[in-house]
C-alpha cells in the first residue's frame, strides 16, 4: 500500500512535469502562430491586399476609337462607320442549337462560316461574347432585329469600324487597317497596351506609320469577378480617348483626277507645292479598295489583287525605282552650268543615227534618227537631244553630276521614316561602283547616266521633289503629307539655297519652258497658252531594255512592242510658269513615250490644281485668321 502510494506520487510528479513541458511548448507554438498572423496580416498586408484585388478586379478593355484622316479641306478620307454586328452570349441562350441554326438560316451563312462560329463557341467561356458576324448588311441586320422575339440571348450590336469612303483613291497613301496579328503586337508598344481581341491596326501606309497617334486609348470597364471569371458587379468605367484626327495636305479632287488619269495604266502621279513641300496628290496605279481588308479579305479578292500583273500592291510613287530617262537632263544641265563646264552657248552637233557618238568602240545614239544638228543648251533641253547631253555628261563627270543630283533630293528617301516602304533610288558615282560592284567606273557609264539610263534610279516622288526645287529657284524644301498643326518640327536647313549661281537655275527653268511651250519642244502639244496655267516641263522616256541594232532598224511603234518591253513614259513639270507654285511628276509604266503619254496628263493636272489654288489658299489664310 505504501509503495503503491509512493508510486502514485511519482506518477503524479511525472505527469505534472510533463504537463509543464507540454504547456510551455504550447505557449511558444501559440506565440509562433500569432507572429505568423502578424507577419501575414500586418507586415505583408499591402502585398496580399494587392493580390486579392488582382484576384477580384478584372479590366475589360474596349476597342479604342481610331483617329480619322481628313484631306486638306476637311473631307473624311478614312473615317469610322457603325458596323452592324451580331453577338451571342451562349449562357444566356436557352436552346443554343435552335438559336444558332435559326441565325444560320436568317443570315444565309455558308457551312464553312457556320463551322467556324461553332468552333469559336467551343473556345470561349459560356458567359463570354461570341461574335457571330462582325459586319452585317443593313438588310440582314434588320432581318435579325425583326426575329429577335425568338432569338433569346442574341444581341444586335452597333460597333465602330474603319471605312474608306474614297475606296482605291488613297490606298497608297493611307494604307488600310486590319486585325492586329502577333507581329503587330510585338513590334508596337502602343498596340500592345491598347490591344483587345478584334482590334484593327494599320498594316501599311500612314495607317501603319502613324499608328501611335491614331490608335487612341481604350475604354476600360472594371468588374469584380469571382474565381471562375464571372462578372459580379461593375466597379468603374473609364472613358478612353479617340485617336488623333490627322489632316493631310492632299486635295481629294486632284487625287481623284490622278486616279482617273492613270486608270487601267500602271504608274504614278504626284503633285507638290514647291514652297511648302505639301503633297497635293500622290497616286500609284493600279490601286485597290482598302475596305476589303478591314474585315479580312476574302481569298478570291486577295488572289485577284496579288496576281494582277500591274502590281497594285506596290506603291510605285515611293517604291518604284525607275531610270529617270531624260527627266534627269535639267539636273545634268544645272550641274554642268554650276561647275562651269558649259555655258549657254556651248554647242554640240547631233548628226543622227548614221553618225552616233563613238567611244571605245561603243556607239551612243540620239533618240532622233535624223539628228538634231547644232544644239545649244536651250535647244538641247527643248528637243531632249541625247547627243548633247552625252557630251555634257562626258565633260562633267559622274561624280559632279551625282553631287548635284543628291543635293536636289535624288538618291535618298523623300519622307524620311514616314513610309517604311520608301525606296532610296540610286545615284551612282565612281566611289559607289567601287564599293558596291568592286569595279572601276567606265566613261560609257557616265555618258548614259547623262540621259538618265544605266545605274541611275529614282522614285517618282524624288523626281517631283527635284522639279519642285528647281521651280522654287533652287531652295531646299521638305515634302510633307500630314499637316503639322503645331509646326513643331521645321528643319533648320529649310529654304537654304542649293545653287551657286541663281542664274543657272533660271537658265534651266527657261529651257524647260521652251521644252513645253515652244515649237519642236518635246511636250509642245501638251502646252497651255493661258499664262494662268502655263507650265514648263521635261519629258522622259526610260528604256526598259537595251535597244539593239535590229530594233533600231525596225523602229516599231509603241503598240507594236510587247507590253513588258515598252518604254516607261515620264514627265516632270512645274507651273504656272510665271510665279510657279506646283510641281508634278508623272510616270506611266510601259507607256511608250513621255511626250505622248505622260505630258498630256500634266496638262489636265495643272488646269485643276491651279484652278483650286485660291481655294487652297483661303484655307491657309483662314488658319492664320483664327489666331
Amino acid at each position: 500500500m505504501i509503495s503503491s502510494s509512493s508510486d502514485n506520487v511519482t506518477k503524479l510528479n511525472s505527469i505534472n512535469r510533463r504537463m509543464f513541458l507540454t504547456g510551455s511548448l504550447k505557449f511558444f507554438i501559440m506565440i509562433g502562430l500569432v507572429s505568423r498572423l502578424f507577419f501575414l496580416q500586418v507586415k505583408e498586408n499591402k502585398k496580399y491586399l494587392t493580390l486579392s484585388d488582382k484576384n477580384r478586379i478584372r479590366e475589360w478593355k474596349l476597342a479604342p476609337v481610331r483617329g480619322e484622316f481628313h484631306d486638306y479641306f476637311g473631307n473624311v478620307i478614312a473615317g469610322n462607320f457603325e458596323a452592324y454586328q451580331l453577338h451571342v452570349i451562349p449562357e444566356q441562350v436557352e436552346n443554343f442549337r435552335y438559336v444558332i441554326y435559326r441565325i444560320k438560316d436568317l443570315l444565309e451563312l455558308s457551312d464553312r462560316e457556320f463551322a467556324r462560329i461553332l468552333k469559336k463557341k467551343k473556345e470561349i467561356k459560356p458567359w463570354e461574347t461570341l461574335i457571330v458576324s462582325d459586319n452585317l448588311s443593313w438588310k440582314k441586320f434588320s432581318k435579325i432585329n425583326n426575329h429577335l422575339y425568338d432569338l433569346n440571348g442574341v444581341k444586335p450590336v452597333i460597333s465602330i469600324s474603319r471605312s474608306y469612303p474614297f475606296k482605291d483613291n488613297f490606298t497608297h497613301i493611307i494604307g488600310y487597317v486590319s486585325q492586329a496579328n502577333e507581329m503587330d503586337i510585338e513590334k508596337n508598344e502602343m498596340i500592345k497596351k491598347n490591344f483587345v481581341p478584334g482590334l484593327k491596326v494599320g498594316k501599311v501606309g500612314l495607317e501603319k506609320s502613324l499608328e501611335n497617334e491614331l490608335i487612341g486609348s481604350n475604354d476600360i470597364e472594371r468588374y469584380e469577378v469571382n474565381a471562375y471569371g464571372r462578372r459580379i458587379s461593375q466597379l468603374e468605367f473609364q472613358k478612353g480617348e479617340k485617336g488623333k484626327t490627322l489632316k493631310l495636305t492632299i486635295d481629294t479632287e486632284v487625287q481623284k483626277l490622278a486616279n482617273d488619269l492613270l486608270k487601267d495604266k500602271a504608274g504614278s502621279i504626284c503633285v507638290m507645292d514647291i514652297y511648302t513641300g505639301s503633297i497635293i496628290a500622290m497616286h500609284s496605279s493600279p490601286s485597290f479598295d482598302p475596305n476589303l481588308f478591314v474585315f479580312g479579305i476574302s481569298q478570291d479578292d486577295w488572289q485577284i489583287i496579288r496576281n494582277d500583273p500591274m502590281k497594285p500592291l506596290v506603291n510605285k510613287t515611293l517604291q518604284g525605282n525607275y531610270s529617270p530617262g531624260s527627266t534627269i537632263k535639267p539636273i545634268v544641265a544645272l550641274s554642268a552650268l554650276e561647275n562651269g563646264i558649259i555655258n549657254t552657248n556651248f554647242t554640240v552637233n547631233c548628226r543622227g543615227h548614221k553618225n552616233p557618238l563613238e567611244l571605245y568602240g561603243q556607239t551612243y545614239h540620239c533618240w532622233k534618227k535624223q539628228g538634231h544638228g547644232f544644239m545649244n543648251l536651250r535647244n538641247a533641253m527643248k528637243q531632249s537631244c541625247d547627243t548633247y547631253f552625252y557630251e555634257v555628261a562626258r565633260r562633267l563627270g559622274v561624280d559632279k553630276l551625282s553631287e548635284t543630283a543628291k543635293k536636289f533630293g535624288l538618291g535618298k528617301e523623300v519622307f524620311g521614316d514616314l513610309f517604311s516602304i520608301e525606296k532610296k533610288g540610286l545615284i551612282p558615282n565612281t566611289q559607289w561602283k567601287k564599293n558596291a560592284l568592286g569595279q572601276g567606273w567606265l566613261l560609257g557609264e557616265t555618258i548614259i547616266t547623262g540621259i538618265g539610263q544605266g545605274y541611275i534610279q529614282t522614285t517618282p516622288i524624288q523626281l517631283c521633289l527635284m522639279t519642285a526645287q528647281i521651280a522654287n529657284g533652287g531652295h531646299k524644301i521638305y515634302p510633307q503629307i500630314v499637316v503639322d498643326e503645331n509646326n513643331k518640327e521645321s528643319p533648320t536647313d529649310k529654304f537654304t539655297t542649293l545653287y551657286e549661281n541663281s542664274k543657272n537655275i533660271k537658265i534651266v527653268q527657261d529651257a524647260m519652258f521652251a521644252s513645253t511651250n515652244e515649237a519642236r519642244g518635246t511636250s509642245y502639244r501638251s502646252r497651255i497658252d493661258d499664262p494662268k496655267y502655263q507650265f514648263a516641263g521635261k519629258t522622259g522616256t526610260a528604256q526598259v531594255k537595251k535597244i539593239t541594232e535590229r530594233d533600231r532598224e525596225l523602229d516599231l511603234k509603241t503598240f507594236e512592242i510587247p507590253y513588258e518591253e515598252r518604254d516607261h513614259a515620264l514627265y516632270v513639270a512645274f507651273g504656272p510658269y510665271k510665279n510657279p507654285r506646283y510641281a508634278v511628276s508623272i510616270i506611266v509604266e510601259h507607256g511608250g513615250n513621255g511626250s505622248t503619254t505622260a505630258a498630256p496628263m500634266a496638262k489636265k493636272l495643272f488646269k485643276l490644281v491651279i484652278d483650286r489654288h485660291s481655294l487652297r489658299d483661303s484655307i491657309n489664310n483662314k488658319k492664320y485668321m483664327d489666331i
Partner: protein, 375 residues
Amino acid sequence: MYQHTRFTTNRFSFLQKFKNFDYILLVCILLLGFISLATMYSTDGGKILFHTKSHFTKLIIFTIMMLIISFINIKFWFIIGYLSYIVVVGLLVWTYLFGVTSSGSQRWIDLYFINLQPSELMKIFIILCLAKYFHRMKLEKVNSIYTILTSLIIIVLPMGLVIVQPDLGTSLLIAISGIAVLWFAGINYKYFIYTMLGFIISMPFIIAFLKPYQKLRVLTFLNPDRDPLGAGYQIIQSKIAVGSGGFLGKGFLKGTQSYLEFLPEKHTDFIFTLFSEEFGFVGSVFLLLIYAIVIYRIILIGASSRSYFAKIFCYSFGAAIFVYITINMSMVLGLLPIVGSPLPILSYGGSSMLATMIGFGIVMSAKVHNQQSIA
C-alpha cells in the same frame, strides 16, 4: 487506497453538479459555437442556407449532448473505456467494408439521418481507451516492452484502418492523440527521442512511399508557386485571404476572397481563412485566445481532478485539441503542407463536432465529478 474519502457517489446531487460546472469553459465553447455559426453564415454568402442551418442544428444537438455527458459520472466513462474503443474499431471495419465513398475515399457510414465518420470519433476514444489502460499501471511497468507494444497496437490498429480509407491526415491525428496519452502516462523520454530521430531519418523513405498526390502536396508546400493554378492554388489563395484581411479585417460578410469563391474548402478546413479575412489580425488573435482559454481550462480541470484517469484524459485531450488547432492553422497559414484536418467546433462537419463535443463532455464530467475516485 482512496477508501477513506469523504465524498461518496450520492454527494453528487444534481444541484451540486450544476455548481461544479466550469462556466468559463462552457462560455468559451458557446462563444466558439456562435463564431462558427456567424462564419458559416458568411460562407453561405450572408444568407441562411444549407450549411448554416445544418451547422446550427448540429451545434444545438451536440451542445445538449455535451451537457448530458457532463452529468454522467466520470466513472462511467472509465468503465466503457475499452468497450467504446472496440465499438469504434468495429465501426471503422464496417466503414472499410460497407462505407460510403465520397470524393475518392471511403470514410463514412450511412446512418440514414447522418453520415458518420468513425475516424473522427476515434480521435477521442483512443484517448479514453489508453487513459484507462494506463490508469492503474505502475510507473515501472509503464516502460515495459509489453506495455509499449500493447499501447502501440492500440494506436496502430485504428491508424491502419483509417489510412486505407485513405485518409492520412486523420490517421496522423489519431496517432498524435494516442502518443499524447503515452507521453503523459510517463513513457520514457528516450523512446520519444528515438522515435523522433527514426522518423527524421526515415523521412526520405516515407516520402518515397507517399502517393503521388501526397508528394505533390509536400512539394507544393515547399514552393506553392510551382503550380499556382493547380496544386498551389489552395495555399496561395488562403494566404492571400488571410494577408489581405489586415489588422482589422475586411468586415463581416465582406471577405472578397470567400464570397467570390477564390477560397477552397471554405466551410471545412479553410474556415479560419475566411474568419481571418473578415476579422483581421485582431479577430484571429481573439479566436486564438478563446482556444487558449479552452485548453487552459481543460488543463486546470485535469490538474484538479482526483483520479489519474481523468487527469490523463484531460491533459491528452487538451494536447490533442491544441494539435488539431495548430495543424489546421499552420496549414492555412502556409506553415505546413495541406493535410485534411478540421478546426475544432468552427469547421463544418458533424462527426468532427460530435467527437469534439464528446471530449468536452467528458472533460466537463471530470470537472463536475472532480472528487470522484476511480479504484
